[in-house]
């Protein structure tokens, strides 16, 4: 019934029930169980989104926004079926002001498309979650990644969002001013809300200047604790690193095997410096001294762009290195804790993996205190999935106990719902009330964030 309504309002080319589209919108890159939507809509403008929400209200149909499908916690899986909203036809620049270092885009634009447009003006959008995610998806999950240590997360890049609310109201959450003390900060509220409070149709982002010069350095440590401590000292030194990644020995070994790299096999830091040539060179020398005092070995610095690209390519291939055999599945943690807790926590993660007898790696954005585990298992071997998931649970609960969070950048989606009460306590009730206030019928991405 509502299917006819969708077709008559949007036109049949924007509505699909093809097997291919239903399958494509049934999953993301997480191991969460796939659920197909009843229909996929491809809005081309805000008015289309309004029309879809109007129909969804009338027929009480769930609406789940879908970006690039690169999510890692199932936020885009339409667990209650209904409409999947795909933004690939809303991928345009609406306003670009290089002189203000601001751009307004539609949610379906991907971060690589965005960078292609702004790079030629000497500007960049630095948030890099690895995948070529859509900007809308990145806002919805408050994504971050390797550069958060310098630029913060998605929420920190936002000046304004246009949002269509469940009741059809269109709001702007901010302005184009860099800062404001006017009214309640709704921008921050919608960022990270995973499409449960409204559908984002416009995003105004801060851009940043492309640094004149970059340099990469890699080094190794004999223990994970030392590696964590070294990262910690780097931050305290005030050196404004662009990226600082920890990769444990098991992962280095896996990546060497995967693509014939020759990284020295030990717990490693990959560090990027960026700025003026003089500053970068000075920072690299200072870093080598600080880390040398802490026991760093195999210090290698690279100014050559090709060498730098190779190092980052290896870093980005980490997950694939573990997962490229067919028939295996994986689970991954995404904890974030105060930096002083990192050394113990990464060592704890490594111990849990080793004790489980499963294969897995530990790596992450150590400068933020955010790290991941990736544990692969054979879903056909009884007990392996449970063992892998138990490690995840132990890590999330330990992170919360240490004053941290169960998810630093992937979002709650389906997998982190069970930790919401432990992490948020009484404020979870306030979050539920806000959800109830903005989506009383519960049509926006039901089943996510809250159990």
């Amino acid at each position: 019934m509502y299917m006819q309504q969708l077709i008559s309002k949007l036109g049949s080319e924007k509505v699909s029930q093809s097997e291919t589209q239903l399958f494509r919108h049934s999953h993301d890159e997480s191991p969460h169980i796939s659920v197909e939507p009843d229909v996929v809509c491809f809005p081309a403008c805000r008015e289309d989104v309004e029309a879809i929400l109007e129909i969804a209200r009338e027929y009480q149909v769930p609406v789940t926004a879908f970006g690039a499908g690169s999510g890692l916690e199932g936020a885009a899986i339409p667990v209650k079926k209904g409409i999947s909203l795909n933004f690939e036809n809303m991928d345009q620049v609406l306003d670009f002001s290089p002189e203000d270092m601001l751009i307004t885009v539609q949610p379906g634009m991907t971060r690589m498309q965005l960078n292609k447009i702004v790079n030629r003006h000497g500007l960049m959008f630095p948030i890099d979650p690895g995948a070529d995610a859509t900007i809308g998806g990145m806002v919805a999950t408050n994504a971050s990644g390797t550069t958060a240590v310098r630029y913060g997360s998605m929420r920190d890049q936002l000046l304004d969002l246009e949002v269509v609310l469940a009741d059809g109201t269109i709001i702007h959450t901010g302005t184009k001013a860099k800062k404001s003390s006017s009214g309640y900060h709704l921008t921050g509220l919608f960022a990270g809300s995973e499409g449960t409070l409204g559908i984002i149709t416009e995003i105004t982002l801060r851009l940043h200047g492309i640094p004149e010069h970059t340099m990469m350095a890699t080094c190794t440590f004999d223990t994970l604790e030392l590696c964590g401590q070294a990262a910690h000292c780097m931050l305290q030194s005030g050196i404004p690193v662009m990226r600082m990644e920890l990769i444990d020995a098991a992962s280095i070994s896996e990546i060497n095997r995967y693509n014939d790299y020759h990284f020295p096999v030990n717990h490693s830091l990959f560090i990027e410096f960026a700025g003026s040539k003089t500053a970068v060179e000075e920072e690299a020398i200072l870093a080598a001294e600080i880390l040398g005092d802490l026991g760093a070995k195999n210090w290698q610095a690279a100014s050559d762009p090709a060498k730098q690209r190779e190092i980052w390519k290896a870093r980005h291939e980490l997950s694939y290195a573990f997962m490229h055999q067919s028939g295996i599945d994986e689970v991954g943690a995404d904890v974030c804790v105060p930096i002083s807790k990192v050394p113990n926590l990464v060592a704890y993660a490594r111990k849990l993996i080793d004790e489980s007898g499963l294969k897995g790696g530990v790596w992450g954005h150590i400068g933020d205190g955010n790290f991941h585990t990736l544990i692969v298992f054979n879903p056909k071997v009884k007990g392996e999935r449970e063992k892998a998931e138990q490690i995840n649970d132990l890590l999330a609960l330990r992170a919360i106990k240490e004053g941290g969070t169960c998810t630093g950048e992937h979002g709650v989606g389906l997998g982190k719902r069970k930790f919401q009460e432990a992490e948020h306590g009484t404020s979870l009730g306030i979050m539920k009330n806000i959800k109830q206030l903005l989506d009383p019928m519960g049509i926006l991405n039901p089943g996510k964030i809250f159990s």
Copy 2:
């Protein structure tokens, strides 16, 4: 009746109805009309705040939080009378982790007290609104100031708030992790809410390393437009300035007269560079080149700490320079716009002041696109107040029209309520709903933000 309750629950030493206290809590530093509270309470702990709110609920008495009284929009004036909550007995450090560059404090601690504690660890809390405001007040208004161009505003420094809600629920809005994608971002919502959504009892803040070296530079331009354009080019150059202040010729002239300074009388930029010695020196040379090309004159750079302090002292004395005659009153704008709009807008501000025949200055945190006007008038001369206020109104509306905000850092309080609809449109309704959700009886700072 509730007065007896307050005394019996808190003890008489925490409850005052003395003339002195009632007067002290009747106003802030703004020209808004004073209103005395019925009583001033001095909670010493969260439990005291809970007890006060319980009584306020029972007797439906307004509760207005009061920090240092340094606000500029009347946010702390108890316009509906009732209880003024003074936090001077809640000024302690609750947890300090220098290695995590984090500190948890009570809301009554002032920023100078805070810096005294953290400076000895090589750390600083950089947000500097001028006055020695309380951290609680700075959170409540999302304050910022001269260093926002580098560090952002208060909201950007917050990891967690403990808040007592109107119904007595105690929540924590975040964790001690540097970033999180878990749940809705309540921290951002309470920051800048001016005590209308809950009473903040604990604040966990990011700290920053003290830069190794600083350098100040001053220069002048022949027109305000050139000055604005120069600031704009500095930002685009990617030089990470610590502070960048614009001060118009009329203000320079006033400050020279006020305290026997000898700044060249023209539209000026005051710039601070901070970082490693090499980086700072390189940046200052680059800045001199860029600004020289744009017509900067009288370039002076100072590495000497005493000279640097003198320049900032002069900057901080600006308001007093205009206001030190008795019998005069003043109004001030606090607009913030995209940086490309600044040159026209500061010129417009200057023109309005000149045409009015009143005395006034234009200055501000030009790197954020945030600037102030200060217009002095004689309240006994008919029409002067109206003229001054009209300039304010025209500037606020023009800023909103240019995609900016009516208040970059002072808050809404009483003075900016009239612009809320123009600035926020339909999202103002959502803000009102959130207020209604969290404070259905309207006991928390009634009369603020919303008209």
